[in-house]
């Protein structure tokens, strides 16, 4: 299913991630998934929040450059090969490139894991997941 992601531009300096988390905590926003990708100079923090719009505002107010983009989420069996068979293979077969993905933190369901990812063609990817009855 489609899901909103909040991403933030972060300078690669100590205390920046802390400042992001503090801004969210102040507004009582919970983080469901988090990934930080970095270069030597800067990073992009990507998050799934329980309230993305409020999260965006909170971060903006704290002076961060931030945006919301649509991602896809998929519920997969929490077993070896779960991700491979439920998402990776089908996407590759359909010629869809995955720009990045990361996993949800914490409990999702009995023996289930949740991943969020950005395909280069979100509509097509959604179709693929639906056709496989991959849960969301």
């Amino acid at each position: 299913m489609r899901i909103k992601q909040v991403s933030v531009f972060v300078e690669n300096e100590s205390g920046r991630l802390e400042a992001i988390l503090e801004a969210l905590q102040r507004e009582k926003i919970n983080i469901r998934a988090l990934s930080v990708s970095d270069t030597a100079e800067f990073g992009i923090a990507r998050m799934i929040l329980d309230n993305p719009e409020e999260g965006l505002q909170a971060l903006r107010q704290a002076g961060f450059t931030t945006r919301i983009d649509w991602m896809l989420s998929a519920q997969i069996p929490d077993v070896p090969g779960g991700l491979l068979n439920s998402v990776a293979k089908p996407m590759a077969k359909a010629g869809i490139n995955i720009k990045y993905f990361y996993a949800f933190i914490g409990q999702v369901g009995e023996n289930k894991a949740m991943v969020v990812f950005k395909p280069d063609d979100i509509e097509k990817a959604e179709e693929v997941l639906k056709s496989l009855s991959v849960g969301s």
């Binding site: 992601q5 991403s7 531009f9 972060v10 300078e11 920046r16 990708s37 270069t39 100079e41 800067f42 992009i44 990507r46 002076g63 961060f64 450059t65 931030t66 945006r67 983009d69 720009k99 990045y100 950005k118």
Partner: protein, 434 residues
């Protein structure tokens, strides 16, 4: 050695008479041949007949770098393009460079001016001169080259860079005079030291250094470390290149080639002409340039003028070291950099109001001046994809390189990093201030 005693020691009344004669001719020339000047003169209600004394210079309008930009590339020429035999170029305030064309006579005049410049600094025809100013569009390389050849010295045209080989040549070819920027002189010293070579043991005895500001302290350092006399030289592309002025070995101000340039200092705010001795912005009118004469060009360099005769016997007025600028131009590795150039690139690539900070690392051991530009990542350009952000950085860097003419690092930063100030933003900081 005074190469041209007739002009260099001319009594001032005679010199001023010569200047007035030449000024009258130039004013008529530009009025007749350059539409830009004709319009500018008409706007001020002045014609060439109104110039009867040197004091009448103040009736004429100023020319600025913006006028060069607005008339880019050939709009300020006073001769047909076919008569030009060379073009030199330097940084403009935005993306467009300053274009300086030369006729054959300009090249000859300039060569003689440069021969005189080198002779004033103490160079003779028996010297072995290594020219480490950049060859190409920059006036330094070919300017010094032609001058040295004209003087009869032997020229080693190394241009800048390839420092280890330069040091080898200094040793093996017996270089006695080095012409380069002051910061490059220090790099030569450091690299030589790394190679286990003491430049004081070579035949190097004189450096004619310029193209960027440098302090008395830096001169002392250079003289001590290289074992040379370090002479200051000044010029700018818009009026000729190097050759406008140079120190004699007494090092008490730079002698201006007043037979070729009519100089004045003005108050940068009001434009009012200042008396000798008062610090102000240097304004230059060319008296002998053919292809592209310039009337009252505002250099933005702050100096003071001294018309007293020098111990060396020269009567040509001396200018002090440049004590500042009346604009925000920087010189990095000998290249002029304007914050407005940087802004124009950011506007072009980002498409949004650019918030940026220029961080300059000044030269020190082993390292030449470095330029880093901090660019605020606005929401308009922010992407969740790393590839896109890196792509932005790359695009900025390559555009910046091509507009500035030197390599600058780009650092993408958060909005909070660059201070917002009331009024004029502080756009440039030295690394040490951070």
């Amino acid at each position: 050695m005074i190469r041209d005693p007739e002009h260099e020691t001319m009594p001032r009344p005679e010199l001023e008479k010569l200047q007035l004669e030449r000024l009258k001719i130039k004013v008529r020339e530009v009025y007749d041949r350059v539409p830009f000047y004709r319009r500018a003169f008409k706007e001020k209600g002045v014609t060439s007949d109104d110039i009867q004394t040197l004091a009448d210079l103040t009736k004429l309008p100023f020319t600025s770098k913006l006028d060069f930009r607005d008339n880019y590339p050939y709009g300020l020429m006073a001769v047909p393009l076919e008569q030009a035999v060379r073009i030199h170029s330097s940084s403009g305030t935005t993306g467009k460079p300053v274009i300086a064309p030369y006729t054959q006579r300009d090249v000859d005049t300039w060569s003689e001016m440069m021969a005189r410049t080198l002779a004033t600094a103490g160079t003779t025809k028996d010297d072995v001169l290594q020219n480490a100013y950049g060859y190409g569009l920059f006036t330094g390389g070919l300017g010094f080259h032609y001058g040295a050849e004209r003087l009869g010295a032997m020229v080693i045209p190394t241009s800048s860079g390839n420092t280890k080989r330069q040091i080898l040549l200094i040793q093996d070819l017996g270089t006695t005079v080095i012409t380069c920027t002051p910061s490059y002189a220090l790099i030569l010293h450091e690299t030589a030291r790394e190679m286990g070579i003491d430049l004081r043991d070579t035949r190097l005895r004189l450096g004619v250094l310029g193209a960027e500001p440098w302090s008395e302290q830096m001169r002392e350092d250079i003289e001590e470390r290289l074992g040379i006399l370090a002479i200051n030289v000044y010029g700018l592309t818009e009026v000729i290149g190097p050759g406008v002025s140079v120190e004699c070995p007494h090092k008490c101000g730079m002698h201006i080639a007043e037979d070729h340039f009519l100089v004045e200092t003005i108050d940068p705010e009001t434009g009012g002409q200042l008396p000798y001795g008062e610090e102000g912005e240097l304004v230059i009118t060319t008296l002998t340039k053919e292809a592209q004469p310039v009337i009252r060009f505002r250099t933005r360099d702050i100096i003071s003028l001294n018309p007293e005769p020098c111990k060396c016997g020269r009567t040509m007025a001396r200018m002090s070291r440049i004590t500042g600028r009346s604009d925000d131009m920087l010189i990095v590795r000998g290249v002029n950099v304007f914050p407005s150039q940087i802004e124009s690139v950011l506007l072009d690539v980002e498409g949004v109001e650019p918030h940026y900070l220029i961080v300059v690392d000044r030269q020190h051991a082993f390292k030449s001046d470095e330029l880093e530009i901090w660019v605020e990542v606005s929401e308009e350009v922010f992407s969740d994809e790393m590839q896109k952000m890196e792509g932005l950085e790359k695009r900025l860097r390559s555009e910046m390189d091509s507009v500035l003419g030197i390599a600058a690092r780009i650092k993408l930063v958060e909005p909070r990093t660059i201070e917002r100030t009331e009024g004029k933003a502080k756009r440039v900081v030295d690394r040490s201030e951070l």
